[in-house]
Structures are given as structure tokens and as C-alpha cells.
């Protein structure tokens, strides 16, 4: 009898061990993938690094013609950073305003409106691009870009360049809309994490709602809100389709951002546009992969920073002001 029981016990232990191993393998899958991706990108882009070295990052050529191949990633790095930065400048204030409204409104109003804002995230990037291309661009160009150009075009370099609607500004505005769900949702969590006693202290002093935000919520959640904004930046940097369809698709020197109304190109959009055309025999594809590597590094750094800021803020809430 003891033998039977001990055999049963062994079997139980074995099947559980198998389960644990299986789960652990599944868990480490992501590590393997990340390492593989890094390795593949580096090795497949090696030809361009070998040819250009680090100056690949600073060059502005973009010539795929055989025998005269020369590639530089700088215009697209600038394009990505410019569009993402403008998207942040527009999207973050809107998102914080939304977070303020929803965190304070009664649930009956706040929840449906919050849901609608979240629904913005469900719309695929390509449909943002479609709508941007055929609807938004027309109005934006006629009602905003052209007037701005007419009034300021001669004086401010930002507004020079005849606006056709497929330009940095249009792409940036659509990007701003696309990052709103993320930034506002995270901002809302951050604001909710402010301890009730802080808000009560402000209220006790006779503060209005807005003053309570200034006294109790914003100082406390400053770090987290910055983190939420950087998270939005990370989103914007990685966006592909909507930007591709709206940015005007310039290449080489012409893609360097010179005015809000000029066409440009981002790292993700140049890849989307040219990858399938690039001949694997040439150095064109390694150049594109090299751009992908740069994009990945930038995206990782931004997102890690954002994560640290946000989680640090949410952890502070746990060990609040306890002495």
C-alpha cells in the first residue's frame, strides 16, 4: 500500500513539475523573442553599419540607385522626433484636461465619456490614415493651415511652405489624437492615486476644485503625469500607418523637417513605404533595417523611462506619508 501511495505521490509531483516547466518556458518566451529581435536587427543591418559606420545616423542621403547607393537615417530620425514632439505638445494638455474632467465628474457622466475616449484607441491606425487623408486633411488645410500660412508664412519659418495638407502638422495632429486614450487613461490612474486626505486638506482650507488640483493633486502626481506624457511619446514614435498616409513621403534631404507645412518622413513610414521594394541584394534593405534598429532603441528607451516614472509614482502612493 505504501508503495502505491508513494508512486501516486511521485506521479503527482512529476506532472506538476512538467506543468511548472511548461509555464516557465512560456514565460521566458518573451525574453527569447526580444533577444532574437535584437540579434536579427543588428546582424541584418550590419552591412550598412559596415559601410557607413555611425555616420549613417547623421547622413541625409537617400539614393537607392545601383552603384550610387548612399543612405542616411537622419531625416527620418528628425521626422519621427518632430512629429512625436508636436503630437505630445497637442495631445498631452488635452489628455490631462480629459483626465481632470473624468476623475472629477459624477460616474454617470464620467463613465460614458471615458468610454468614448477609450474607444479612440480601438480605431485602427490605417483608418485614422484614411479619415485623415480624405476628411480631416481637407478641412485642416483650408481652415487652419492656409490661413496660418497667409498670415504668418512670410515671417515665421514654421509656417512657410505652401500647405497641401500632407505634411508634418497634419500627421502630428492625427498622432496627437491617437495618443490621447493612453495618456488620459494613465493620467487618470495617477490622479486617482493621490490620497483622499490630501484632497481633503486642500478642501478644508477653502479651496475651489481647481485650487485643490493645484495644491493637492498636481504637485503630488507631477512625476507620474510626466511619465504618462512620455508614454504617449513612446506611442507616437512607434506609430506607422496613419503617419505614412499623411506625412507627404519625402526622402533624403527633402525629408528634413523645415516647416510645419512641408512634407517629411518618419522612421516607421520610410520602412513601410520602401521595405517591400528594396532589393535584398542591395544595401537598401540593410539601411531600412538599420533605421528599424534605431527606431527600436529610441522606442525602448522612451518607454522604459516612462514606465519608471509612472510606477514610481504609483508605488509612492502605497507608502504614502507615514511616519
Amino acid at each position: 500500500m505504501d508503495k502505491v501511495i508513494s508512486n501516486l505521490k511521485k506521479r503527482r509531483v512529476i506532472s506538476d513539475k512538467v506543468f511548472k516547466i511548461g509555464a516557465t518556458v512560456a514565460g521566458t518566451y518573451v525574453l527569447v523573442i526580444v533577444v532574437l529581435i535584437a540579434f536579427q536587427l543588428m546582424s541584418e543591418s550590419y552591412p550598412i553599419w559596415e559601410k557607413e559606420g555611425l555616420s549613417f545616423i547623421t547622413k541625409t542621403d537617400w539614393n537607392a540607385v545601383e552603384d550610387r547607393e548612399s543612405f542616411g537615417a537622419l531625416p527620418y530620425i528628425l521626422g519621427t522626433l518632430t512629429t512625436s514632439a508636436i503630437a505630445m505638445m497637442i495631445g498631452v494638455p488635452l489628455s490631462i484636461g480629459i483626465a481632470m474632467f473624468i476623475s472629477d465628474a459624477p460616474p454617470k457622466i464620467g463613465a460614458p465619456l471615458g468610454f468614448l475616449v477609450e474607444l479612440l484607441a480601438a480605431v485602427p491606425s490605417v483608418i485614422y490614415g484614411l479619415w485623415g487623408l480624405f476628411v480631416f486633411r481637407v478641412y485642416f488645410r483650408d481652415w487652419i493651415e492656409t490661413p496660418l500660412h497667409d498670415v504668418f508664412g512670410d515671417n515665421i519659418w514654421l509656417f512657410s511652405g505652401n500647405p497641401y495638407g500632407l505634411d508634418i502638422l497634419t500627421a502630428s495632429v492625427i498622432l496627437a489624437i491617437m495618443i490621447i486614450p493612453t495618456v488620459s487613461a494613465v493620467s487618470r490612474e495617477i490622479m486617482k492615486a493621490v490620497p483622499q486626505q490630501q484632497k481633503e486638506a486642500a478642501y478644508m482650507l477653502g479651496a475651489t476644485k481647481w485650487e485643490m488640483f493645484k495644491l493637492a493633486i498636481f504637485p503630488y502626481s507631477k512625476t507620474g503625469l510626466i511619465g504618462a506624457s512620455i508614454l504617449g511619446l513612446g506611442r507616437a514614435v512607434g506609430e506607422t500607418m496613419a503617419v505614412t498616409m499623411l506625412i507627404g513621403n519625402a526622402t533624403g534631404i527633402g525629408a528634413i523637417p523645415s516647416s510645419l507645412f512641408g512634407p517629411s518622413q518618419t522612421m516607421s513610414s520610410i520602412i513601410a513605404n520602401e521595405f517591400v521594394e528594396a532589393s535584398p541584394a542591395s544595401i537598401h534593405m540593410p539601411a531600412l533595417i538599420g533605421i528599424g534598429l534605431i527606431l527600436l532603441l529610441i522606442a525602448i528607451v522612451i518607454n522604459v523611462i516612462a514606465h519608471l516614472l509612472v510606477t514610481r509614482m504609483l508605488k509612492i502612493k502605497e507608502g504614502a506619508i507615514n511616519n
Binding site: 506538476d16 512560456a26 518573451v30 484636461g97 513601410a272 522606442a299 525602448i300
Partner: protein, 308 residues
């Protein structure tokens, strides 16, 4: 009034009669933040309206079932694209869901150690990888190796988007199941894997399914990873080793054509895609709605997990 009280009265008299102004500022801020919400919702409304308005006119049985006609002719349809989208999300799910679920199980049930923290961090970082990079990766390890575009490559790329999301939502759903369930299973002498699958996952079922379906709707709309993996096509699916069409790809390609008829077909395809995505989103919510926090509250919570 003694001198102390007098002094206090003096102090009080210094308080500016600024309450009215402060209330006005408060009101202005209220209006501003409300406007922010409206500004955000207007594009949503416009997108939905335009997609429905323009797309509806393109929809017909032919449109939904035929292959694309010649560019600009206005004939043909998006049959292959619809088929392709359904195939690719099915295949991606087959690859991505099991890994995601087991990963979530690992993080939840075996997750109290340094390795798990490390994995969780990498999971979060990985979720933010630009999807076009995942497409490049799938291209490099599958398409290049095979020598041709492949449906497997596309499914693999999309599965890479899916599994971290599924892992995260699975972990959170499992964590919500009280320890007492597991303890009861142990007390009954059940093996851990039996406890996990039969008891814990059963209890966490609705949260997990919600997460899975939401990630499906997310990949349904993904375009970038498909560009260099399945490429797109004008034919119906023929084999795993030939290019295949998908709705997002078709929409993109149509938008690049200079013909009004192509534009119209683009709207039609967009309508079909939006219907699928919204259908999954709202359907999942409605079906799995938790009475607590209400319909919208639960939606927002789950939505946040996907988009975070």
C-alpha cells in the same frame, strides 16, 4: 475684544474679497476641461460617421465577395481581404493565445520571484515595440528563410503583438481569483496543474476571454506587420506560402490610388473592418459585463489593459 482677537480680525480683513474671482476661475477651468473631452470625441464621431456614411454606399454582396477589379474601374470587391483578415487573426490566435495564457499562468501562479519580475518587465517593454519592427523580424526569420512571402510569417508577427497582451490580462484575471480557491483544491489533494486549469482558470474565465478577444480585435486592425510578411494580394487565399490579402492592407493600397472609385471601396473596406472590431469590442463587453462598476466602467478597465 482682547488684543489677540483684534489681531485676528485684522488678519481676516486682509483676506481679499476674491472668492468671486476664484469661483470664476474654477468655472472657466471646468469649461476648459470639458472642452478637452469634446475635442477628443469629435474625431471619433467624425470617423464613425464618415466610415458609415461613405462605406455604406460601397457595400453590396459583390463587394463583399468578389476579388478586386482593375484599379479605378470601380468593379470588384474586397472578398480576399475579408477572407485574409479572418484567416490571419485565426492563425495568430492559435499561435499567440496559448503562449500568452501559459505566460500569464506563470506570472500569476509562479510569479513571486526575481525571474518573474524580470519577465514581467520585459513583457511590458515588449508590448511597446513598434509593430513594424515585429513585421521586419517575421520577415527576417520566416520570409527570407523560406524565400517567399508567407501567411505563417504574418500570423507569427501578429501573434507577437497578441501574446504579451494576453499574458498581462490572463495574469490579472488569475490574480483576482482568491487564494482560497487554490487552497481548497490543495486540500482536496489535487495537482497544481489541475487546480490551475479546472478551478482557477474557470473562475477567471470571463476576464481572460475578454482580454483575448480584445487583443484579437487589436490585431485585426494591424497593418504594418503584414506589409512585409503577407504583402497583400488580389486573389483569394491559395496557400500558406503565397501572399494573402487583409482588410487593413487593402484599405491602405486603395487609399494610394488616385481614383474616386478606389476611395469609395476604401471606405467600404474600412466599414467592414470597423464593424468587425467594434463588434468584438462591444459584444465582448456586453456579454461579459460585470454588474459592479456598470457597463462602461468595466469596459474602460479592460480597455486600459489593452492599450497601456
Amino acid at each position: 475684544m482682547n488684543p489677540i482677537q483684534q489681531r485676528r480680525q485684522e488678519y481676516r480683513s486682509l483676506f481679499k474679497q476674491n472668492v468671486a474671482k476664484r469661483l470664476l476661475v474654477d468655472k472657466v477651468v471646468k469649461i476648459i476641461v470639458f472642452s478637452c473631452v469634446i475635442i477628443a470625441i469629435i474625431p471619433l464621431g467624425s470617423i464613425l460617421i464618415e466610415v458609415f456614411k461613405n462605406g455604406l454606399t460601397a457595400i453590396s454582396i459583390e463587394f463583399l465577395t468578389e476579388t478586386p477589379g482593375s484599379a479605378g474601374s470601380g468593379e470588384g470587391g474586397i472578398g480576399p481581404a475579408i477572407q485574409g483578415t479572418l484567416i490571419i487573426i485565426g492563425l495568430s490566435s492559435i499561435i499567440g493565445v496559448p503562449i500568452g495564457v501559459m505566460s500569464g499562468v506563470f506570472l500569476s501562479e509562479y510569479g513571486d520571484n526575481a525571474l518573474a519580475r524580470f519577465i514581467r518587465f520585459f513583457n511590458d517593454v515588449f508590448m511597446e515595440f513598434p509593430s513594424i519592427i515585429l513585421g521586419i523580424f517575421a520577415f527576417l526569420i520566416i520570409v527570407l528563410v523560406l524565400g517567399h512571402f508567407s501567411v505563417w510569417a504574418g500570423a507569427f508577427a501578429l501573434s507577437l503583438i497578441m501574446f504579451p497582451i494576453v499574458a498581462r490580462t490572463t495574469e490579472e484575471s488569475l490574480k483576482m481569483v482568491p487564494m482560497t480557491y487554490r487552497e481548497a483544491g490543495t486540500a482536496l489533494g489535487l495537482k497544481k496543474w489541475v487546480i490551475t486549469f479546472r478551478i482557477v482558470i474557470s473562475a477567471a474565465k470571463s476576464g481572460m476571454i475578454t482580454g483575448i478577444l480584445l487583443s484579437v480585435s487589436r490585431i485585426g486592425g494591424e497593418t504594418a506587420p503584414l506589409i512585409m510578411t503577407v504583402l497583400g494580394s488580389s486573389q483569394f487565399f491559395s496557400s500558406m506560402d503565397t501572399p494573402m490579402d487583409a482588410l487593413p492592407l487593402r484599405i491602405w493600397r486603395l487609399s494610394l490610388l488616385p481614383y474616386d472609385s478606389a476611395q469609395l471601396q476604401g471606405w467600404g473596406a474600412a466599414l467592414v473592418l470597423i464593424m468587425i472590431i467594434l463588434g468584438i469590442n462591444l459584444g465582448v463587453r456586453y456579454y461579459f459585463t460585470n454588474k459592479k462598476n456598470g457597463f462602461f466602467g468595466q469596459l474602460i478597465k479592460q480597455r486600459k489593459k489593452i492599450t497601456k
